[in-house]
């Protein structure tokens, strides 16, 4: 077992396609690190460089303190679980799991013992003599895991291993993989574009975009304190509401201005955040959907007027899409599928209880949880949080 260190690692395809740009990341021994980001963000390329399947253009990559830039994949002692499982179709489950050990020259008895142990952990004992085509998606996924764990490698590398499973099985396997990883306590790098997997499985999560690492932190820290508006807009389902606003300051207090609507910034944010001092400066204001609350009492301080545009009942909760009355036309920021930041009409999403009495077209007064405001620089998109 070992730790993994990316030190300024870059990968350039052709002359100018920079898939991974100066990635520095440390995965501690036994840690479950999730690389997450939209398609094309470089997460899979980073994993493939770690496996030795892609050459490193610059920087150093170490496993267990040993630089492995020029080490062949077979000599890196890492095991990889692929998106499509990549099981050998002509071999049985037992042969698939024991193949790497057989190549390594381990005795038949030893291979059998290790395969049997792994099969017990993965609940595959009854399927050892079956071929992959006779297995369900979940069973194939477990065989792919088994093939990795029998080797007792220094690190597990997993490339979107759950993306081919249906929703229910994905939840089961999410727990299963996390359980096995904790049981074996091997450094694991897990690539996914699914932020729910990232939030639920990782000890820490590294968010990538356009080949650049955006933030590395525990899932809860990422959720609570995103480093920039991309992370804020990517993590969370539905993502954080991001609204462009003017910040008016004077007489020791600040106010967010959305068109003709105004929201007072609670005191204290000027100490924890580097808010613009010049009155009228642009700022990006962020608020999580669960921090948008309906106001029933008239005249509540900080309440703003909205109109219900759409209502999505999910059973346990309702997602209500609200447009701000008298706000600027396009000031809501969203992150599209390619990770690009785009402006949309001023709509924010609120998460409400399943019995909330809201209908499309209703006029609603809402307030934002004063303890959960987020501020980002309107130009760079970086969080203005200082501590």
């Amino acid at each position: 077992m070992a730790d993994i260190t990316f030190d300024g690692v870059s990968k350039v395809f052709g002359d100018d396609i920079r898939a991974v740009d100066n990635l520095s990341l440390h995965v501690a021994d036994g840690e479950f690190m999730v690389l997450v980001g939209p398609s094309g963000c470089g997460k899979t390329t980073a994993l493939r460089m770690l496996a030795g399947l892609e050459e490193i253009t610059s920087g150093t990559l170490s496993i267990g303190g040993v630089v492995v830039n020029d080490v062949l994949p077979k000599d890196r002692d890492v095991a990889m679980v692929f998106q499509n499982y990549a099981l050998y179709p002509h071999m049985t489950v037992a042969q698939n799991m024991g193949f790497a050990l057989k190549i390594r020259g381990e005795s038949k008895a030893e291979v059998q013992r290790k395969v049997s142990e792994a099969a017990t952990i993965l609940r595959l004992t009854d399927y050892l003599e079956r071929r992959p085509k006779a297995l369900s998606g979940g069973q194939r996924q477990r065989v792919a895991m088994g093939r990795a764990i029998v080797r007792n490698p220094q690190a597990f590398l997993m490339d979107e291993p759950l993306s081919n499973l249906d929703a229910q099985l994905r939840v089961e396997m999410r727990l299963e993989i996390a359980r096995i990883q904790r049981l074996l306590n091997v450094a694991t790098v897990y690539v996914t574009h699914d932020q729910i997997e990232a939030m639920t499985m990782g000890d820490r999560v590294a968010v990538m975009r356009g080949g650049v690492l955006q933030q590395v932190a525990t899932p809860q820290f990422l959720y609570d304190h995103p480093a920039n508006e991309f992370v804020a807009g990517f993590m969370g389902s539905p993502p954080m509401n991001l609204l462009r606003a003017h910040l008016e300051s004077g007489a020791g207090e600040s106010t967010l201005v959305f068109g003709r609507q105004r929201v007072a910034v609670p005191s204290g944010y000027d100490r924890t955040h580097a808010l613009p001092t010049e009155s009228g400066s642009d700022v990006v204001f962020g608020i999580r959907p669960e921090d948008v609350e309906i106001v029933t009492e008239a005249g509540t301080v900080g309440a703003i007027s909205t109109r219900v545009e759409r209502r999505e009942a999910l059973g346990a909760e309702i997602l209500v899409h609200l447009s701000l009355v008298d706000a600027d036309g396009t000031s809501a920021i969203t992150i599209d599928d390619n990770g690009a930041v785009v402006l949309r009409p001023t709509v924010l999403v609120a998460k409400m209880g399943p019995r909330a009495d809201v209908k499309v077209g209703d006029a609603l007064s809402v307030r934002f949880n004063p303890e959960r405001f987020h501020f980002f620089d309107a130009g760079s998109g970086q969080s203005l949080r200082q501590i």
Binding site: A51, V78, N84, A86, Y88, A100, I103
Partner: protein
């Protein structure tokens, strides 16, 4: 019903030559001219006119050796073109594949000169080399197409598990390439087994000539015994039929690979 009748007609058209061969071979020359009678005389006479056993053995040796060489070159080449990234791979691949378009007759003379200069016209080596050269482009093309359908992840899994490229080819890719191997084997076998020209030119020793040359000799005399020729033709046709029947379940899969995705 229409399909059944159509297939029945196709079957009759296909099987009729075999019926003609068998029926006419079971007569003597006189019976054949009279149009009636039954005898095994032509079969007995055939073995005294040409060394059928030796010729079938020669054809078998030539076919087996040529197909082995074609597979030994075609498999790794196809794997490399399909899965490895190297400079000018597309150009080299197109150059090899374009060789499929060159007819044998166009290169026969230079090939004959080269093989003769190398002293390879006695024995099987010259013919085997010519057949291998003619069959390799097609096998490279077929294997490349087939291996393009093999997921990259399967190969990468093998590499991470500790195999080199030859290990991956031998232990992972080959076992799943049976339909492609069968297709190349059957098509090349039929082509080489039935070929007359190369055998006639590149095998000079009478004792090493293949069955097709033997049959040509049989019909080259002043008079030709049709029943004997039919018997020889039937013997010649049987191995190709057996190879086809043995591999036919892979053949369709092998020929349609790459177009059913």
């Amino acid at each position: 019903m229409i399909l059944f009748v159509a297939m029945l007609l196709v079957a009759i058209v296909m099987l009729y030559p075999f019926w003609v061969m068998i029926y006419n071979s079971l007569m003597t020359e006189a019976q054949f001219l009279a149009g009636k009678g039954f005898s095994l005389g032509s079969w007995k006479a055939l073995t005294s006119v040409i060394p059928v056993g030796q010729e079938v053995l020669s054809s078998t040796i030539i076919c087996t050796a040529s197909i082995l060489i074609i597979l030994l070159i075609g498999l790794p080449a196809g794997f490399a073109f399909a899965k490895l990234r190297f400079r000018l791979s597309t150009v080299v691949f197109l150059a090899i594949v374009s060789a499929m378009m060159v007819p044998l007759q166009a290169i026969l003379m230079p090939e004959f000169v080269n093989v003769t200069k190398l002293g390879l016209t006695s024995g099987y080596v010259g013919a085997v080399l010519v057949y291998s050269a003619l069959g390799t482009p097609f096998s490279v093309f077929l294997f490349t197409t087939y291996f393009r359908g093999v997921p990259d992840e399967l190969i990468e899994a093998g590499i991470v598990d500790g195999l080199g490229y030859f290990g991956v080819l031998w232990r992972l890719v080959l076992p799943i390439a049976v339909p492609a191997i069968a297709t190349v084997t059957v098509l090349q076998f039929i082509q080489i087994w039935d070929d007359l020209l190369v055998g006639l030119l590149f095998i000079q020793n009478t004792s090493e000539r293949p069955i097709t040359v033997g049959l040509a000799v049989l019909s080259a005399g002043r008079t030709t015994s049709i029943p004997q020729l039919m018997a020889g033709s039937f013997i010649s046709a049987v191995p190709a039929m057996l190879v086809y029947l043995g591999f036919q379940r892979y053949l369709v899969k092998g020929l349609t690979m790459g177009i059913d995705r």
